[in-house]
Amino acid sequence: MELQAVHARPPEDNPYLPHMARIVRIHRMVPDNYLFQLRFADDAMVQKWEHRPGQFVELSVIGTGEAPISISSSPTRKGILELCIRRAGRVTSALYRLPTNSMVGIRGPYGNGFPVEDMAGNDLLIIAGGLGMAPLRSLLWYALDHREKFGTVTLMYGAKSPADMLFREELLSLAEVEDFNCLLTVDRDPTGTWKQNVGLLPSLFQKMTFDPSRTYAAVVGPPIVYKFVLAELLKLNFRKDRILMSLERRMKCGVGKCGHCSVGYKYTCIHGPVFTYWDAINLPEIV
């Protein structure tokens, strides 16, 4: 009897395999927070790629390592993958040293993403604080490109100052779009040229009325934003399972194995990163 090794599967089925992608453009949006536009080297990959708003990828910089990055582009805009990346650790610092046209590795998309099928037919309230705009931009453009699927669509976005606002020019131009409420605010405006609201993010709640029985709220931001925004939403009687938030942990493998992104009993990478507020308060380690 001849002994034969059983081979698992073809190499492209390896969930850990990074696919090479070219950095097409780099937009220096704010210091230490650039938008990288990527395109897969293999055209078949470009065609095959699908993601949901709120999902993330694992980005490899050759010779440095991997880091989880949320996707900023909408699945409705195919061909170019946009990642808004903060210079924070080893991998992202190495990425910032790469010139345009360099190759990086991408695998994914991972995570559950926003439940856009359930959200359809409802009003949509997107609330972003600071860098929280990065994952929410995917949802925003998804909603604007599928405008017929949603009732009213509102964005509330607060940044420290105009210079800290991600996608500032894009959002300012969207403020002109009909049938979309674009509420932007900054904590302070040292330039004196900011024509939108000045004040903390929760102050935007006074500018709008909502029907919580038919609204989904998607909130992403630093802890302080969750603290005040969640309080506002609960005061307005939003259902806890219609408040969606996205968690950030150390998603190393992205596929529910390595254990680093665990929160309570869940792995952020497969059970999240999007959790309802109800899920979140039932995760023991979240508070």
């Binding site: 009897m1 529910g256 194995k257 390595c258 680093h260």
Partner: protein, 351 residues
């Protein structure tokens, strides 16, 4: 399931066919304990052993492995070929086979499957063997004192013979290749098996009540037991290294000096280590030692039950043996249940 029997005197001949199925690993004596290693001669193999220092996990998920080689020009190339080397794991206890079955759930039967693990698991024949429990085995409490899958053959001592469960077609090939050394068991053989099996079950010295543990853990999340454990635990990670079902790993890229070519290395990690939940920017979601000890218990005894329907503990007793400060799962769980006051007070672990 096909059940045969084999005279013990034929074992030497039987094991001589095993190398045809891959590199053989078996329990050997090493220092005061046992290890799964490649025997240089069969007489070194210990058929009766308590437990090995490391579980068979070490062969399915090696402590350190290269998953990819990378090169700026060629991108990432997998190293699956090396994971496909056939092996035979001889003399595995039921709880360790159960441990592999639990790893299967995570690595081979979930939404994303791990090709490195699957290649090793599929190319490894497992021959199980029964054991006599010592004062640290909890297999009867965890229902891992018997397995009905995850092995190719399973040998149980019935006196002059082994009763042989044939679990797979590959197991059957082993039987055929050993020139039909195996014969059909009689009713008396089954009676002897059952008698020994009941006797063994009654001989367990260590016990845990598992049934309502998830609820109790849910209620005792803020118990001071976890703080006491945090005071004692050294965060060394030994318990998770020796655990048959702890599978956390780290991924690091190692670069050749003066180039951007290198290897992506996956290596064992532990939720007990301080950097486990550290994210870029410096925030650590589990900076307190007590939060890490607690997390390990909740993951294995609460979260895993929710996700997979059973705890990811097989009752091997290795964590009890490995802990340098005598943290013992039995006393921890009894404390949580309120049957003990202070985890340090019990001498049950060391007696």
């Amino acid at each position: 399931m096909k059940i045969l029997k084999m005279a013990k005197e034929n074992l030497d001949f039987f094991v001589s066919v095993l190398p045809a199925f891959g590199e053989v690993y078996a329990p050997l004596e090493r220092g005061k304990g046992y290890v799964f290693e490649r025997p240089s001669k069969w007489s070194d193999v210990r058929l009766k052993y308590t437990r090995t220092l490391l579980p068979p996990k070490k062969l399915m998920l090696p402590p350190r492995e290269t998953t990819f080689v990378f090169d700026p020009d060629k991108g990432y190339q997998d190293r699956l070929e090396e994971a496909s080397k056939p092996m035979v794991l001889f003399g595995v206890h039921s709880y360790d086979i159960f441990g592999l079955n639990i790893l299967d759930r995570v690595f081979a039967q979930s939404k994303y499957t791990d090709p490195y693990y699957i290649a090793r698991r599929k190319n490894t024949a497992v021959v199980g063997i029964d054991f006599e429990p010592d004062d640290k085995h909890l297999a009867s409490s965890l229902n891992t004192d018997f397995v009905d899958s995850g092995f190719d053959l399973f040998l149980s001592d019935i006196g002059d013979h082994y009763l042989v469960l044939v679990g797979t077609s590959r197991g059957d090939d082993m039987v055929v290749m050993s020139n039909c050394l195996m014969t059909r068991p009689t009713g008396a053989d089954f009676e002897e098996y059952k008698r020994r099996s009941m006797q063994r079950r009654a001989s367990y010295k260590a016990h845990l009540v598992m049934e309502d543990l998830p609820e109790i853990l849910e209620m005792e999340y803020h118990s001071k037991v976890w703080d006491e454990m945090g005071e004692r635990c050294l965060s060394c990670g030994s318990c998770s290294m020796v655990c048959p079902t702890c599978y956390c790993f780290d991924i690091n890229d190692e670069v050749q000096l003066g180039s951007r070519k290198g290897e992506r290395i996956r290596s064992w990690d532990s939720c007990l280590l301080k950097t486990h939940a550290l994210v870029a920017g410096g925030e650590n979601f589990r900076g307190a030692r007590s939060s890490r000890v607690k997390f390990r218990y909740y993951h294995k005894q609460r979260g895993f039950v929710a996700e997979y329907g059973r705890p990811s503990c097989v009752g091997c007793g290795r964590c009890v043996e490995a802990c340098p400060v005598q943290i013992n799962i039995i006393t921890v769980i009894e404390s949580i249940r309120g049957e003990h006051h202070g985890i340090a007070s019990s001498a049950r672990a060391s007696s």
